[in-house]
Amino acid sequence: MSTGFHVVVLGSLVPDLLQTLEPVQGPSGPALKNELMLPAVLDPWAAHALFEAAHVAAATPGSKVWLVSLGPKAKLQQLMMSIAQKVPFELVAVDGSASGFTDPVDVAEALAGAIEKIPSLDRSRLLLFGGCASASRDAGVTVQLVGERLGITDQFLAADELTVSAEGVLTVLERVEGGRYLVSEVAGPPCAIAWATGNLPEPPNNPQVGMMNMRTIMPALQKAPAIQFASQGTVFQSVELPKQERRTRIVRDVPLDEMAREIADWIKG
């Protein structure tokens, strides 16, 4: 593969997972209490997709990575201060709600529109990456919907590994039932891959990489188009947290086996 991939990663922010998340009824529908005030992180599944994208790009000369993010501009800027340090990418920002209470069809429409406007993007070399799920609302359909709008029909869900052969053939490992993988091959791009956790560690922060990225990030944020989702369509009857699963217990020096046994016992009930 001499020309490299054009990897577009879909990913935005979610409230830091350690925060207390409390659904409330806001003026324009359901929301999380103090959502804008809470520190945010890149959606963990999207983060895996981003790290995998950087890995693929680094291994394939001539490749380039874009991160397409739909979220409140001010929060995206803050998020970039950490994410931009991880891997090289160019940001494409869309200024709008990153709340979990938006319809994925609307979100996909906005994201596909943003991707279509990337001037130097070669759609024949496009790898569309994203998370197979989200920490804000687990509809798990955004990558597929964006792929459909961009005419990408080779789609892989819950992927953990992507390898590229010397001939440019892509081999994807998708999670399927029973802890097994479905191994698929695709002749080449374009294709869409919704990542599970992948198998790469989180890269350490490197402010030097961050400063390189910031040359394009700030202009991208400044010219981010604002988007307002229509309030009709999806209606939320009620929203609540699964209370029992938010219990936190701090323990020290517990052997792994014992922890595993305890979790298994809990699942068994």
């Binding site: 207390t20 409390e22 209490k33 005030m37 201060m81 400063m211 910031m214 936190t248």
Partner: protein, 710 residues
């Protein structure tokens, strides 16, 4: 799902703990993305590898272990090590580094100050070279201290700063050194070879240092005076890292008592030397170098202690709220279950005091660092102007600067005018363009802010850290305490000692706070606070202004007063007078800068969309917190001043027995009584502010768990 009606409640409450958006505004780095990234990078290291090392028990050894050494590599990988180095030598941050180093120290000390010290000590070792080194020395040691890039097999160099000596005690009078430098060999037309003997004590980073910047005095008539010299581990002779110092704090940093007996070329004298009549004359004495170094590095440990106080807020709230959960008979939904100890006013009020102290310290520390970031350019401009006049260093420069102090004082007075006349504006512009005047003004301010921050942030900070520990009950003094509060408490004591203990800072303040130019500046602050008070009456700015007036009057009074035996009160050796007065000043200066930061938040906060939904509560809480702290600071300053003004009068003063004649007997201090009454009266509302802030504190949303391990 509940209806979100929190915005309709009055007064608005603090919704969440202050995040990065808030700090960037208050500490004025919202436009510095490079700094913001360094913060995120350092935070990830602090709350990841550093916290895990502490939780694992890495502090339980005086030795330099693999776990501790691994943290240095984490610093390297995260860009922390090279953040202090200029881009021309391989760093990546342009311009002065005082503020960004303060941010780094803040983030690391949030979890463990020893880790912060490890990072800082390397910068301290390089500081003599950075400030006074020759171009060759800078190129060599700065470049070597930058982590190698991928593919580069070069090993990074690490440094240690060796000043303290005098075994068996720790510490040194900067004017007295036992370390010696002699001429070992000096052949005609060759560079002299020196022999350096130095026994260090409590030298940080000795476990990993490849080079040392050591202070030594001449032990040879062929060398004039003292100097600082660079020693390398491969120099011929003894480079003994020595035994680990059995210190009780900052155990993640390596501290040892090294012994050096090495031969080095004379080119290692920091800043170079000249030869006159067969005598080597170092261009800078060790005192010159140290002054330049400590001017720039003392704000950092001050910030570290404040970081710890602020880091204590979240764990204490969580502990208080969950205090009774899980206990028999405490059911979900009951006030004891939901609020725990936060039902009690005392728990809330005491935590507010800790929080306020942390905020005020951080405000002062970061303002000092920002001021120092302007210092280098101003100092260079001043030196250039003086050089044009044929004045370079030493007494000639001091004399030249003294001659311009009156102009500088005038500058401070004119700059404080709210509505200057055209003539005054023109004069101000003229003085503003004068590098010598700007230097005198900046130096007079920094020479107060630096010792005030170092003294107050660390000294009072440790006291308040003890308070934070006490709020966790027995849990506070265990290794399991969330936030490592007990460890942070004892670490704070070392921050109070590093780079000049409290007595050194008091000594410096006692001199610099009495300079007319600073006193003029101080009066301008009072006027500023009074103006703020008119516009924002709930901040406690009026209380602080009143206390500052009282301090000012007390200093003036004490400067000419005599004690009951006719001895001068305000004299060089009368530490019983000048040092407490310095303590009082530090309280006031810290609080003044908190007021300024909260005003900044008030002004700029609403412009940030991410803060929009909670800005009202945020500003309201910080206004109350400032009011609380202004009242405390005013109380402290007033108490100290009262003791000094009245305490040196004769014990048999009849006023003690005949209250009716008090007014007559104390006629000479009647203005003090009036000012004190004014301070007392200005406290109105301060406790109400505390009640409001306590209400906020009892409802503020905190994360489910701490974001670093315990």
């Amino acid at each position: 799902m509940v209806k979100d009606d929190s915005s309709k409640q009055l007064p608005a409450r603090l919704r969440t703990l202050p995040g990065d958006d808030v700090r960037q505004i208050m500490w004025r780095f919202a436009d510095r993305f490079d700094y913001q990234m360094v913060v995120q990078s350092a935070r990830a290291v602090a709350r990841g590898p550093v916290a895990r090392a502490v939780a694992k028990g890495a502090r339980n050894s005086h030795e330099w272990t693999e776990d501790k050494a691994a943290l240095l590599h984490e610093f390297d990988a995260a860009g922390i090590t090279s953040a202090a180095v200029d881009p021309e030598y391989g760093g990546y941050i342009e311009g002065p580094k005082n503020f960004v180093l303060g941010l780094l120290a803040y983030e690391l000390a949030w979890v463990d100050a020893g880790a912060g010290t490890s990072s800082m000590a390397n910068t301290l070792a390089l500081a003599p070279i950075h400030e006074r080194g020759t171009p060759e020395q800078k190129q060599t040691y700065m470049s070597r201290s930058v982590p190698p890039l991928p593919g580069d097999s070069r090993k990074i160099w690490r440094g240690a700063f060796a000043l303290t000596e005098s075994i068996p005690y720790v510490g040194v009078d900067t004017g007295v050194l036992s370390g010696r430098v002699r001429v070992a060999e000096w052949n005609d037309s060759e560079e002299p070879l020196l022999h350096v003997d130095k026994r260090g004590r409590f030298i940080t980073n000795m476990g990993s240092a490849n080079f040392v910047t050591a202070a030594v005095d001449s032990g040879d008539p062929r060398i004039k005076g003292s100097c600082m010299v660079i020693l390398e581990e491969t120099d011929p002779g003894t480079f003994d890292r020595g035994i680990p110092t059995r210190k009780l704090a900052h155990q993640l940093s390596s501290t040892r008592d090294p012994i050096f007996s090495l031969q080095v070329p004379a080119s290692r004298i920091i800043g170079g030397y000249t030869v006159k009549d067969g005598v080597i004359i170092p261009n800078y004495s060790h005192a010159d170098v140290i002054e330049a170094v400590f001017t720039r590095t003392r704000a950092t440990p001050a910030i570290m202690t404040s970081a710890k106080l602020l880091s204590a807020v979240e764990p204490v709230i969580r502990y208080h709220r969950r205090r009774f959960r899980g206990a028999a008979g405490i059911n979900e939904g009951t006030p004891r279950f939901d609020m725990g100890l936060q039902q009690k006013e005392d728990a809330l009020h005491r935590l507010l005091d800790v929080w306020a102290a942390g905020e005020a310290g951080a405000s002062l520390g970061f303002e000092t660092a920002r001021l120092l970031d302007t210092y280098d350019a101003i100092e260079k401009a001043k030196a250039a102007v003086l050089a044009q006049q044929g004045i370079a260093g030493g007494r000639a420069e001091l004399k030249a600067l003294r001659a311009r102090e009156k102009d500088a004082t005038e500058y401070v007075a004119l700059a404080a005018r709210r509505t200057p006349s055209p003539e005054e504006s023109a004069r101000l512009a003229m003085l503003d363009a004068d590098p010598v005047v700007k230097f005198i003004v900046t130096e007079s301010l920094s020479s107060v802010l630096i010792p005030a921050a170092k003294l107050w942030n660390t000294g009072h900070g440790v006291n308040m850290m003890r308070e934070a520990v006490s709020m966790m009950g027995g849990y506070g003094i265990t290794e399991d305490c969330p936030g490592f509060l007990g460890l942070k408490w004892i670490d704070g004591q070392l921050e109070a000692t590093y780079e000049g203990p409290e007595v050194v800072q008091r000594r410096q303040l006692s001199v610099t706070m009495s300079r007319p130019i600073f006193l003029r500046q101080f009066q301008a602050w009072i006027a500023h606070l009074n103006a703020i008070s008119r516009e924002h009456p709930a901040m406690g700015a009026g209380t602080l202004a009143s206390a500052m007036e009282l301090w000012f009057w007390s200093r003036e009074y004490l400067s000419t007063a005599k004690d009951a035996y006719g001895r001068d009160l305000y004299s060089n050796q009368r530490h019983g007078v000048t040092y407490p007065l310095a303590d009082a000043l530090a309280w006031l200066v810290a609080t003044y800068h908190l007021v300024l930061d909260v005003l900044e938040l008030k002004r700029k906060g609403p412009e940030n969309p991410a803060l929009a939904e909670g800005i009202e509560g945020l500003v309201s809480f910080y206004t109350d917190l400032t009011h609380i702290h202004a009242a405390t600071a005013a109380g402290e300053a007033t108490r100290i001043c009262a003791e000094l003004v009245f305490g040196y009068r004769a014990e048999s003063d009849p006023a003690l027995e005949v209250l009716a004649s008090t007014v007559d007997v104390f006629k000479d201090v009647a203005p003090f009584n009036a000012l004190r009454t004014k301070v007392d009266a200005s406290l109105a509302g301060s406790k109400l502010a505390k009640d409001r802030a306590a209400e906020s504190l009892s409802h503020v949303m905190i994360p489910e768990v701490l974001d670093y391990p315990v």
